[in-house]
């Protein structure tokens, strides 16, 4: 029903979604945390008393105290400073990779769904391949091949995510394509690109946005997983997963070294998942009431 409406109605549809979203407490909590994290990413280095690489050999393995709110690590580095600085790696890499996957995967899926035939078959087989390799395995292999680094990790993660978006967009396009207004546009001699951009994408976009929001969350976990085994972001940088791996050796005596980075990961992932969940409910309120 929402599909046949004109742009005026679409705008009101948009405000209805916003209204529903604003009423969802979980989504709003997620949004607030997301904003806080964004502030940390932008201004993190100016918010802390120490720099992330400052080593203080007089203050190694210090328990949380007034000087070091979350204690220090094996090299006497302030854990809080490192965590705040590290937020940028998780976030920027994850967001970047999700955008990469969504754009490349989306284009692939849209083309496959729209043109069908041989193109569709080729893309579908490619997706079958994607599906039969566990994501983490593919991501690790790519990240070893590309080497460690911020952009290479983004690329490795981004390539891993292509399959999911291609699938979503293909399904959406197939569904939308069957509608009469597409036939009408075709009958009016509208070009393929015009139909895809003006009619199909706007209608298929909402599951993609939900999936992207959730994707940032799972991306952060993937980055931490890579960091935990020494892949991905270079190990001298305070990436959360790498910090977990550092702390692991000392966790019997200094549990905060493992607890703190873990809590950062959970909080961030939770924020994106809560917001994504709320977004999905707002876009498709069937399951509410």
């Amino acid at each position: 029903m929402k599909k046949e409406e004109k742009s005026e109605k679409r705008r009101s549809q948009f405000s209805i979604v916003l209204e529903r979203l604003a009423r969802n407490k979980g989504a709003m909590a997620g949004l607030i945390i997301m904003i806080l994290i964004l502030i940390v990413v932008l201004f993190g280095e100016h918010m802390t008393p120490y720099s992330y690489f400052h080593q203080d050999y007089m203050a190694m393995f210090e328990f949380p105290s007034k000087d070091h709110l979350l204690g220090t690590d094996s090299l006497g580095r302030d854990i809080l400073s490192r965590l705040l600085y590290g937020a940028r790696f998780s976030l920027i890499v994850s967001v970047g990779s999700v955008i990469f996957s969504a754009v490349i995967g989306g284009i692939l899926g849209a083309i496959a769904g729209y043109y069908g035939g041989v193109v569709d078959t080729v893309v579908m087989r490619f997706l079958d391949v994607y599906q039969s390799i566990p994501g983490l395995v593919l991501c690790m292999a790519l990240s070893v091949v590309f080497g460690s680094g911020v952009y290479t990790t983004m690329l490795a993660l981004g390539i891993t995510g292509i399959g999911g978006y291609a699938r979503i967009l293909r399904a959406q396009v197939l569904q939308v394509k069957g509608n009469e207004y597409i036939e009408a546009a075709r009958a009016a001699k509208a070009g393929d690109l015009h139909i895809i951009l003006k009619h199909i994408i706007p209608n298929a976009i909402s599951p993609v946005i939900v999936s992207m929001t959730m994707g940032v969350g799972s991306g952060i976990i993937a980055i931490a997983s890579l960091g935990f085994v020494g892949l991905g972001i270079p190990t001298h940088l305070p990436e959360w997963g790498a910090m977990l791996s550092d702390g692991r050796s000392y966790m019997g005596t200094y549990p905060y070294m493992v607890l703190a980075p873990g809590c950062c990961i959970i909080l961030t992932v939770l924020a994106f998942n809560l917001f994504g969940d709320g977004l999905r409910d707002a876009l498709d309120p069937r399951l509410k009431d």
Partner: protein
């Protein structure tokens, strides 16, 4: 039906071949000198040439691929570049640990997650529902490897109840299974809740109510079966992914499964090891998907028709409309 299953299994062959080509391509073009990595920096030119010849690395991209596929035809997965140990032997030795872990964790996830999700749906908006949703939200946001570390911290290091390394006793499996299983149960609970809510709103449940059926019987006779159908997909997909995806957990608890092997292969770009594991994973994945389809036909009689026609399947899974 039998014909259909055979067809589906045969279909796995081209897919697996594509997987091999895909992964081989990624690994082959990695900028790394395998011979020097294996033999050390000071190795002689002759030793390097021998190494390359032995492992087919001197044949180039296509030559190496053809040799690998030819050997695969004879059931030979090759040997590791660095240890010279047969890949198929390693996989066979390691598979039982991984299978055990995967099956236990998935079972744990279904046993905890399915009833919880259904309860949450039937008590929608109650405190039970809110609590379940909050917990599942939390557990699905938590990295399993971090949770595993926390468990180790509590139960091995603090209380000393459970061993943190090893694989001999059942005690070794408690923490690995729980750390993965809780995550799986969170995902399954959310799926079960969503699909149950959809079923509860369906017309046939109203019909049952109009017959004078008790609410508890409506849940057990009408809702349970229909609501758990999408859960099968989630559980199956998870089982498949876990055959190789329990990588970090196997590492943490030093379980000598496929995960640790695959990881060592990836880290050193050991092509035969990675290809062997990935081939096995992809075949397992395919077989599990076929198995899931077979289970469907028992749970949902519509699926027998739909699967064989292979068309209406998705539609049925999504809504339950059978037009």
């Amino acid at each position: 039906m039998g014909k259909y299953i055979v067809k589906r299994i045969l279909w796995l062959i081209p897919i697996t071949l594509l997987v091999i080509v895909f992964v081989y391509t990624i690994l082959f073009f990695a900028p790394v000198d395998r011979a020097r990595a294996a033999l050390g920096m000071g190795a002689s030119e002759q030793a390097i040439a021998e190494f390359n010849e032995k492992n087919g690395l001197d044949k180039g991209y296509l030559g190496g691929l053809i040799i690998y596929l030819k050997n695969l035809l004879h059931g030979d997965f090759g040997v590791s570049y660095y240890t010279s140990v047969s890949v198929s032997k390693q996989i066979l030795v390691r598979l039982p640990y991984t299978v055990k872990l995967a099956i236990l964790a998935t079972t744990f996830g279904v046993v905890i997650g399915l009833p919880l999700g259904i309860l949450a749906a039937t008590h929608q908006n109650s405190w039970l529902d809110s609590l379940t949703m909050a917990l599942t939200m939390f557990f699905s946001a938590m990295p399993t490897f971090w949770f595993a570390l926390i468990l180790v911290m509590i139960f091995s290091l603090h209380f000393r109840w459970l061993p943190s390394v090893g694989y001999e006793s059942w005690k070794n499996y408690v923490m690995p299974v729980v750390s993965i299983g809780l995550h799986v149960s969170a995902i399954i609970a959310r799926q079960a809740r969503a699909s149950t809510l959809e079923v509860i709103r369906s017309d046939y449940v109203t019909t049952a109510r109009a017959k004078g059926q008790k609410e508890s019987k409506i849940i057990s006779d009408h809702v349970l079966r229909n609501g758990s159908i999408p859960v099968i997909t989630v559980a199956g997909g998870n089982l498949a992914a876990m055959m190789g995806g329990a990588l970090l957990i196997e590492q943490i608890f030093t379980i000598p499964g496929i995960g640790t092997y695959l990881f060592s292969g990836i880290a050193s770009l050991d092509i035969p090891v990675v290809l062997g594991c990935v081939t096995m994973l992809s075949v397992f994945h395919g077989l599990i998907i076929v198995l899931v389809d077979i289970i469907y036909t028992f749970v949902d009689p519509r699926m027998k028709v739909a699967i064989i026609q292979n068309s209406a399947k998705k539609k049925i899974l999504r809504g339950g409309e059978t037009t």
